[in-house]
Amino acid sequence: MHDADHPDHHHDEQGAPHGAGHGHLHGPFQKDHDTAPAGAYEMLEEAIRSLLIEKGVLTAQEIAAQVDLMDSRSPALGAKVVARAWVDPAFKRRLLKDTRAALAELGIDIGTLAEFRTVENTPKLHNVIVCTLCSCYPKMLLGVPPAWYKSLAYRSRTVVDPRGVLAEFGVELAKDVEVRVHDSTADLRYIVLPMRPKGTRGWTEADLASLVTRDSMVGTAVVAPPVTPAASRRRKAG
């Protein structure tokens, strides 16, 4: 049988990485390949992959490259966009009006599969994103969605009890702040532009971006002010 794991540079069946400079980090809970039993779905994936490679539909290199692309994505790109919007009000206006075009200014091509929309948090409005029907998510800007976003619990409850869900995430909002839930039911992906926290005046874009969390761009967190005034002054000083 054709071994579909070569020349794929990822882990071989014994779990050891191939090649030098293999920079992939595994999360703490990734299964140990050589002691965990091979599950039915894992084996199905291997069977399908090998058949598709054999039939010339896909190549191992294409699959590996796509896995690498997926691994390379993280909330850092979304955070960069947020930081730019915080320092540049004209960019922010363009981002809210036409997110695709504004992202293109930063060299980000969102492709043809979906449109992106940015929704802005204000002192009177807090946005939160959900996909009740599946798990639509702005992966290009935020990376892979966390398991909770894809969970039945989040998908079912956020639309009917957003304040309860937000409280579980530690976010409490006053009654006079509108909570607006966006259910991504079609080909639009939503990203929240969180409010810029106090204590960041004069900060560089890079330092601002480092404050922006993934959850704040989904709407299940706000961006916290820097920890201490001293830390803020140190950052300002460069």
Binding site: M1, D34, E42, M43, R49, T132, A147, W148, S156
Partner: protein, 129 residues
């Protein structure tokens, strides 16, 4: 065979709410733990992206969702996110006549035999069609 337990009457037969259409139900507390994806899960994601790209156009994200939505409630709730995905990819590949069902079943059996020969335990059950 006993009738599967219906956890929530609102989800099936109670007027037509489909299994995946869960907005407004109360399906538990939110587990916020996070962990890395297994390699097979990442490859599943990769294959979906490639199979729907302009070079191949074997399937669409809409067809993929439709296939997942066809699972029964017990299956839908029980199996994990990427387990849903790889099963749907398999079913669509057969539907689109890219692979035949017998080819998949035979290859899965070979994969299992390979793992067992290498001393790794392998699940005896197969993914239901």
């Amino acid at each position: 065979m006993s009738v599967p337990e219906r956890k929530n009457l609102a989800r099936r037969g109670g007027g037509g709410r489909a299994v995946h259409d869960v907005g407004g139900l109360d399906l538990g507390s939110i587990d916020r733990s996070e962990h890395d994806l297994a390699l097979w899960e990442k490859r599943t994601d990769a294959m979906l992206v490639l199979l729907r790209d302009n070079k191949r156009r074997v399937l669409s994200v809409d067809a993929h969702r439709r296939m997942i939505e066809s699972y029964g409630e017990q299956e839908y709730d029980r199996i994990t996110y990427y387990e849903k995905w790889i099963r749907a990819i398999r079913n669509l590949l057969v539907e689109q006549e890219v692979v035949r069902r017998e080819e998949i079943e035979a290859r899965v059996a070979e994969v299992r035999a390979k793992h067992e020969k290498a001393g790794r335990k392998a699940a005896k059950e197969t993914v239901p069609w």
